[in-house]
């Protein structure tokens, strides 16, 4: 075990899997020589050469399109999109192509690739370096969507994603790239897709959160315990697609309450999907309204970033609301 940041966990996952499998290639804007603008791919080009880790022209559509071709031909490309906000020139390639190749060819062709991209707010990045677009992609059958929130999960989920036979969008919560530290197993470390994590156990209310919001919810849970004696259970699904519905339902059946927390705009967000799953399957267990604590239905602001993002105060308020009706 070594202590690493979330970013180092990802990097360690890349090194591990590139050593393990020569079909794995990493490429994208500034990932080679510069090691990525966040330095996530630092050292890969040095160890694996320009053939396996290289800089591309500034074209997200080109990056993803060529990755799809490589994947169909038998490689395991791991392209990087510099910021999730810049993925949209490649939206067509992801949604119409990568996600549908297996289905439309009756399983003749497949597209095993991992699109890595930093997402979410918290770095003073304004509109275009802060967005959380997971819902667009969760709404795309054929695509898996993975979001780690700890260094060990980052490594283990990334390795599983690379080994997966289907295309995966791997969203990296950049706010906690360097601030989130933890023990990471050395070498082989696999965290299966589709299995959630109980971040902390509690009996009064379930919070489902992912990415950087997990940490915010942990702080809120501390507050709630201290100030109100409310015992919160936090579930981090780790993969949004496929979703560990059982873990969420089991938790809500135990606590009787649900708050979903996500940075993305409230309307159409993934927390709404979780709310629907709970309403469909466990309404009899609910002892209060389901509450969503989310970003507002505005574009992501610059100066007021800290107010836009769900914070401890708003999560606390959200949990309180499940008791007030």
């Amino acid at each position: 075990m070594a202590t690493m940041t979330l970013l180092e966990g990802i990097r360690d996952g890349l090194f591990t899997e590139m050593r393990n499998d020569d079909r794995v290639l990493c490429f994208g804007e500034d990932v080679g020589r510069n090691g990525g603008v966040f330095r996530t791919t630092d050292g890969l080009q040095k160890e694996f050469g320009e053939e396996r880790c290289f800089d591309t022209p500034l074209s997200e559509c080109g990056i993803i399109g060529t990755a799809i071709g490589m994947a169909m031909y038998g490689l395991r490309p791991v392209p990087e999109i510099q910021f999730q906000d810049f993925i949209f020139p490649a939206f067509d390639q992801i949604v119409s192509e990568a996600a549908k190749i297996r289905y439309r060819s009756g399983g003749e062709y497949t597209c095993p690739m991992v699109i890595r991209t930093p997402y979410g707010g918290g770095i003073r990045g304004g509109h275009y370096h802060s967005q959380s677009g997971e819902a667009y992609f969760c709404h795309t059958p054929g695509l898996k969507v993975v979001i780690p929130s700890t260094p060990a999960d980052a490594k283990g989920l990334l390795i599983s994603s690379i080994r997966d036979e289907d295309p995966v969008l791997f969203l990296e919560p950049k706010k906690i790239y360097r601030t989130m530290k933890g023990e990471v197993p050395e070498g082989e470390h696999v965290v299966p897709l589709g299995k959630g994590r109980i971040v902390r156990e509690g009996k009064d209310c379930t919070i489902v959160a992912y990415g950087a919001m997990v940490e915010t919810c942990e702080k809120a849970a501390d507050e709630l315990k201290k100030q109100r004696g409310i015992d919160v259970e936090i579930v981090d699904p780790r993969t949004l697609v496929p979703l560990d519905e059982k873990m969420i339902l089991d938790s809500v059946r135990k606590t009787g309450r649900l708050v979903t927390v996500y940075e993305a705009p409230k309307t159409g967000g993934f927390g709404g999907e979780i709310a629907a799953i709970v309403a469909e399957n466990a309404i009899g267990s609910l002892e209060g309204p389901i509450v969503r604590v989310a970003g507002f239905d505005t574009p992501f602001p610059y100066t007021l970033e800290g107010i836009y993002m769900p914070d401890v105060r708003r999560v606390v308020r959200g949990v309180e609301r499940t008791f007030e009706w």
Binding site: E51, G74, R124, R178, D297, T303
Partner: protein, 420 residues
């Protein structure tokens, strides 16, 4: 595919990077592409951006100050001095902005230092009524078009004096009064907007010309190709400026395109493409003026490749020593657009050293005053965050706003750091 060799103007033979990128190891595939040799360091400091011209069009570099390959535009003394003063104000503003960023007083900055002639000279060839669709490295244009320093600095601070209401990162300006269109971060998206606006002007029978900017990196995005294609098809009164500074963050030109030049790309879309010495403001002006005149006369668009260099980092978060050598930077500092223009003005006895110093001093004073004013202004109000999503607040937005306000005062805290 055999590796393609190219002789650069400094005589060295280098291998195209693309060949080295060919994936060759595949357990599923038996075919492997030939391994190319040589050129280990693709972006070595020895690389030259002036490739040997092979096509007839779009390869000659046009210049006035040192080359004499294009005629002096014959601007009035006043206009020459105005352009120079704008370059000085831009230079001083950029230096100050980077310092403010380092002191943590503003969040981020993208300096255009070294590229002043390239964008100020191109924009100067327009009429005030013409529209500009900028990228993010044309900071001198608002100054040239009469935007006050205070309005600019307020945007860096994202305070409640900021026209954009603190919604965007520094340098993502919007100055409608100057026909300077709101900037977004996604590369290249503005290019087809300029074509559309040009089509709209034509439809209305107005003689507005639109001008739009992108970098060398920008030419790789789909939008660049869409825009040139549409502009060609509709003969839109639009002028494209590709500011080729040789780098897209850490990615060198050789990785961006296999074309000999950026200008030559115009040919494929049936429009003229020219290359100009982007650090020679007179040449930049003259070449652009010809393109603008053509556009205004209904003769269609032009792509201008302006060869320049950003002598500073890509942004306040970038460390250029990771990817480029000192020699290259020194080389370009010796071609500084301000110094070259100053030399010209001196030779024409339009500027004394004393006057020059006064210009710098006045610019510093101007920026200081703007910074001082900006730092006294409060943040935009919390409730303003919900405005302008639509013309009217939706019921959902109203509810979200009211709920937030009911929680009382909160501080907007910034925790992370910005890497790019």
């Amino acid at each position: 595919m055999a590796s393609k060799k190219r002789t650069s103007s400094n005589g060295s033979t280098r291998t195209k990077p693309q060949a080295r990128h060919a994936a060759k190891k595949s357990s599923a595939s038996t075919k492997s592409s030939p391994k190319s040799k040589g050129g280990k360091k693709a972006a070595s400091s020895a690389r030259s951006r002036t490739k040997a011209p092979t096509s007839s069009r779009g390869s000659k570099i046009l210049g006035v100050l040192d080359r004499g390959t294009v005629r002096d535009p014959g601007l009035s003394d006043e206009r020459l001095l105005e352009l120079y003063a704008t370059m000085v104000r831009t230079r001083v503003m950029e230096e100050r902005a980077l310092v403010l960023q380092r002191q943590g007083r503003i969040g981020f900055y993208v300096p255009c230092t070294g590229q002043e002639a390239s964008h100020i000279g191109t924009a100067a060839a327009l009429m005030d009524s013409d529209w500009i669709f900028p990228a993010y490295r044309q900071a001198g244009i608002p100054l040239l078009r009469g935007v006050s320093m205070e309005q600019i600095v307020d945007e860096w601070y994202g305070n409640d004096g900021d026209i954009c209401k603190g919604r965007q990162m520094p340098v993502h300006y919007s100055f409608r009064s100057a026909h300077f269109v709101t900037i977004s971060s996604p590369i290249g998206t503005q290019l087809s907007h300029a074509v559309g606006a040009a089509m709209a002007a034509k439809y209305r029978g107005e003689d507005t010309v639109t001008m739009t900017y992108c970098g060398d990196g920008g030419t790789s995005e789909n939008d660049f190709h869409c825009a040139l294609n549409f502009a060609g098809v509709y003969a839109s009164p639009c002028v494209f400026i590709c500011e080729n500074n040789g780098w897209a963050i850490s990615t060198p030109l050789e990785y961006q395109t296999a074309s000999e030049t950026m200008a030559v790309k115009a040919e494929a879309y049936g429009i003229p493409g020219v290359r100009v010495d982007g650090n020679d403001i007179l040449a930049v002006y003259q070449v652009t003026k010809e393109a603008v005149d053509r556009a205004r006369q209904g003769k269609g668009p032009t792509l201008i490749e302006s060869l320049t260099y950003r002598v500073g980092p890509h942004s306040s978060s970038d460390d250029p020593t990771r990817y480029r050598g000192d020699a290259e930077v020194t080389d370009w500092k010796n071609k500084d657009p301000l110094e070259r223009f100053k030399k010209y003005l001196r030779s024409r006895r339009l500027l004394t050293p004393k006057q020059d110093e006064a210009l710098f001093a006045a610019a510093k004073e101007e920026v200081n005053a703007a910074v001082k004013a900006a730092e006294q202004k409060p943040n935009p109000t919390v409730s303003s965050m919900f405005d302008d999503v639509y013309r009217d607040l939706t019921p959902q937005l109203r509810e979200q706003r009211d709920e937030l306000l009911s929680l009382g005062e909160a501080k907007s805290e910034h925790e992370g750091y910005f890497p790019l």
